[in-house]
């Protein structure tokens, strides 16, 4: 297989992942060529390019797919169904949003050089301490990883140590994201309350409204997805990953063998939260707004359903699930505005009942059958 040259050793058996990453690379290169290079070199031949709204839409999907990978890592491989993963995503998003707010500078509607608009009209006199540092991109990048990571660490440390598992853990994570949502809705938080952060102007000096910036962010999202995927694959194929799977399947036995179960869980959880944070940070400049609605417990449940529909414990299944459900949502909200919830609800029920392994499981079954047929033919 010539394609294996492009992938690291641990991915050679991961056919789904290879197909996925190749497709991703293909789309990204096409977008770069048609939307960026051709218009740059031949301005009049621009009729070929993909419309901007498609680029941002695709970019958005890619971020959500990365989020799905993050959840699949802890749920599919470690058995921790976090119903609060959207919280990590939103925290990463808020960190990026704060950076983008600081970049506005004195171009806000009140022309205040430091304070964001919502602080000016609510009579804040100075910037709260937790906004310091966000004018620097490096600091922000650090925070995008650190804030979700730290929250996951503290929460995980407490929870895994006291051996809260299964359903209880899911409900605790739900409580966590719910509490965060309520907190971020408060205007006293100094993060824009219900409106959240919006009206971003530029990132690292490049206007967010120019097509080239959009294509760069899109490409970055694609790269982040690819790297997130490869890193996750690396982890699950490593010894650590094998141990984690052992914990999922028989926690007590693993513990008795002598593994520090809570440490394994903790590190996977923290890594996953960081991935979610990165996804959120890339999501925000593409959709142009971050608000407390992203913390909603319903978002996290929906996220779990993307993973379940795609097929958990496969990583690329999570990506497929995220793309299918989100595309379906985009399509149906336009085509069947009054009925789309019926479609979505039925999809959820049917897939949990009849597709325990998700869409990926369906492929596998199909593949197995054809292989069996081949075997039968041979034996016959």
């Amino acid at each position: 297989m010539i394609i294996n040259y492009f992938f690291p050793q641990f991915m050679h058996k991961d056919t789904g992942g290879k197909i996925l990453l190749s497709l991703l690379a293909l789309v990204t290169i096409m977008v770069i060529i048609f939307n960026f290079l051709i218009p740059l070199l031949l301005p009049e031949a621009s009729s070929w390019h993909m419309p901007t709204y498609m680029v941002t839409l695709l970019g958005k999907y890619l971020c959500l797919a990365l989020l799905a990978i993050a959840l699949d890592l802890v749920w599919g491989y470690c058995g921790i169904l976090s119903l609060g993963h959207a919280a990590f995503f939103a925290l990463g998003g808020y960190a990026m949003g704060m950076y983008l707010m600081r970049q506005i500078g004195d171009r806000g509607v009140y022309g205040d050089p430091v304070l964001p608009d919502f602080m000016v009209f609510l009579n804040w006199s100075e910037l709260p301490w937790y906004w310091y540092g966000f004018e620097s991109f490096a600091f922000t990048a650090l925070m995008i990883l650190l804030v979700p990571g730290l929250l996951a660490y503290v929460f995980g440390w407490m929870t895994f140590r006291s051996r809260v598992t299964g359903v209880y853990l899911s409900i605790m994570t739900q409580a966590l994201t719910y509490a965060l949502m309520l907190a971020f809705f408060r205007n006293e938080m100094g993060l824009g309350g219900n409106n959240g952060l919006t009206d971003f102007k530029d990132i690292l000096g490049f206007s967010l409204q120019s097509d080239s910036t959009r294509i760069v962010i899109f490409s970055l999202s694609a790269a982040a997805l690819a790297m997130g995927y490869i890193a996750s694959r690396f982890i699950v194929e490593s010894k650590l990953g094998k141990t984690v799977v052992a914990i999922r399947d028989a926690e007590l036995r693993t513990r008795f063998i002598g593994y520090k179960v809570e440490n394994f869980k903790l590190w996977i959880f923290v890594f996953s939260a960081m991935l979610a944070g990165v996804a959120g940070a890339l999501y925000v400049p593409q959709v142009g707004i971050i608000n407390p609605g992203e913390f909603s417990p319903l978002n996290s449940i929906e996220l779990a359903i993307w993973v379940a529909i795609g097929g958990r414990g496969t990583l690329f299944g999570a990506v497929i699930g995220a793309l299918i459900v989100n595309y379906a949502k985009t399509y149906f909200t336009g085509a069947l505005p009054e009925l789309w919830l019926f479609a979505l609800g039925t999809l959820f029920i049917v897939s949990t009942l009849y597709l325990p392994k998700g869409v990926v499981g369906l492929f596998e079954r199909f593949q197995n059958r054809t292989e069996n047929n081949k075997l039968e033919e041979k034996t016959a």
């Binding site: 941002t56 509607v109 609510l122 219900n194 919006t198 409204q209 608000n291 909200t333």
Partner: protein, 429 residues
């Protein structure tokens, strides 16, 4: 029945829209496309679905009159599903993909804030029909709902002068509209000589349902001998349990009247209004106003929606005025180009449904009359007070320190949404 036909209609609109899109660019030149960006699902569907139907009705009406500039109008309906990022996405889709010439849409402030960068970037045109907190003026947006000085301030004046209210409870849901409105009102009341201890400010989360403690506090605050009123910026769903609790704790509208800025006929039609009777609402329009234009509008609406039970409300009037103004401006500019229409809009006059003329001002806000009414047991609101003439909408409040020097003027030579009258500078980039 009604809902069915409604659904059919929406479906028909969507189907037409999509077939027309498929039909390609040749068709597009022959129609003027009107984008409709209201949530048809999710939490805001309760309020926004009605506005979508209003726009469709106006388009049908206009087409019967022969369209505009010799072309037929064509609606493009999308569902942003009460999801704020989706509002931005759908706006982009409407302008870039569907190539609409104008968008009527949005309800919540956050949805408008989400749409704003996109509409400015793509130089589109948005008509926003809901009362809001002000502190904004975009070249690409026309605000046909009330600014705080067209709703909140006259309401407080009425309470102060006619009901002789001395103590004030400013109760609101914790989001930007109540926060800003209460900031403005607090500054206004203090300027009028009300002491700080006679103002109580309270915020609750969205959908708050347990009002026991807060109503009890209001009762204590209001029963000290000074006439007390509640100025409520409580958002939709939280209102019913609030009024119920008021009634149960024996607080009548005569003891402590509540004046609400977000409770209109549409909201009242879904609840048992008995606990609300006598409480107040401030708007620019009430369905109960007797006026030939209004009666014609109600008749048209009930015929269009095929039910004589459906009510009309203020955001519908704002949509109506916005649409009529846009049609006039397009006719005047002889073009649907954003810049031409934007300049033609300023100064356009359309008859209010409640009498008098609404004028589009230089700051993209309307001059409209302000009405204050009492809620009746049939869910209607009866006018008890109105301004003598129209009040011009103020984009930047004079009562906030940050915006008192700012004005908006989109005519030459200023052409600026946030012009500082002291420094004579436009703060926009």
């Amino acid at each position: 029945m009604v809902r069915k036909s409604l659904r059919k209609l929406a479906l028909a609109a969507v189907v037409t829209a999509s077939t027309l899109t498929l039909a390609g660019a040749a068709w597009a030149a022959d129609t003027i496309k009107v984008g409709v960006l209201h949530s048809l699902s999710g939490t805001m569907a309760i309020s926004e679905t009605t506005l979508k139907d209003t726009v469709l009705m106006m388009i049908e009406e206009q087409n019967k009159k022969g369209g505009l500039l010799g072309k037929q109008l064509e609606a493009v309906v999308v569902d942003p599903a009460s999801n704020w990022p989706l509002f931005a996405e759908k706006t982009r889709e409407l302008i870039e993909k569907e190539k609409v010439d104008v968008i009527f849409g949005c309800w919540t402030s956050v949805s408008r804030k989400s749409v704003l960068p996109v509409i400015e970037e793509l130089n589109g045109l948005l008509f926003y029909p809901v009362q809001y907190e002000g502190e904004e003026s975009s070249k690409n947006v026309f605000y046909t709902g009330a600014a705080p000085n067209q709703q909140a301030i006259p309401a407080v004046d009425y309470l102060m002068n006619d009901l002789e209210v001395k103590r004030w409870v400013l109760a609101g849901t914790d989001y930007v509209y109540p926060r800003t409105t209460n900031k403005i009102l607090e500054a206004y009341l203090i300027a009028k000589g009300v002491k700080k201890e006679d103002i109580m400010i309270n915020y609750t989360p969205f959908g708050h349902s347990d009002w026991q403690s807060i109503v009890s506090d209001i009762k204590k605050f209001g029963s000290q001998g000074k006439k007390t009123a509640v100025v409520s910026t409580i958002n939709g769903d939280a209102n019913v349990p609030f009024y119920k609790e008021l009634g149960n704790q024996n607080i009548s509208s005569e003891d402590i009247p509540v004046i609400a800025f977000s409770v209109g006929e549409e909201e009242l039609s879904g609840i048992d209004t008995k606990p609300l009777v006598g409480h107040l609402a401030a708007w620019n329009y009430f369905m109960s106003v007797e006026n030939p234009e209004n009666e014609a509008f109600i008749k048209k609406w009930q015929a269009f929606i095929k039910s004589d039970k459906r009510v009309t409300n203020d955001p519908m009037e704002a949509t109506y005025i916005g649409f009529e103004m846009w049609a006039k401006a397009v006719a005047k500019a002889k073009s649907v180009e954003t810049d031409a229409v934007e300049q033609a809009m300023i100064g356009v006059e359309v008859a209010n449904l409640t009498g008098g003329m609404a004028v589009m001002n230089k700051n993209h806000h309307l001059s409209k009359p302000v009405l204050i009414g009492e809620i009746q047991d049939d869910g209607q609101i009866e006018t008890v007070w109105s301004t003598e003439s129209t009040v011009a909408g103020d984009a930047w409040s004079d009562f906030l320190p940050s915006s008192k020097d700012l004005i908006s003027d989109w005519t030459a030579p200023i052409k600026c949404g946030n012009y500082n009258t002291k420094t004579k500078k436009c703060l926009a980039k």
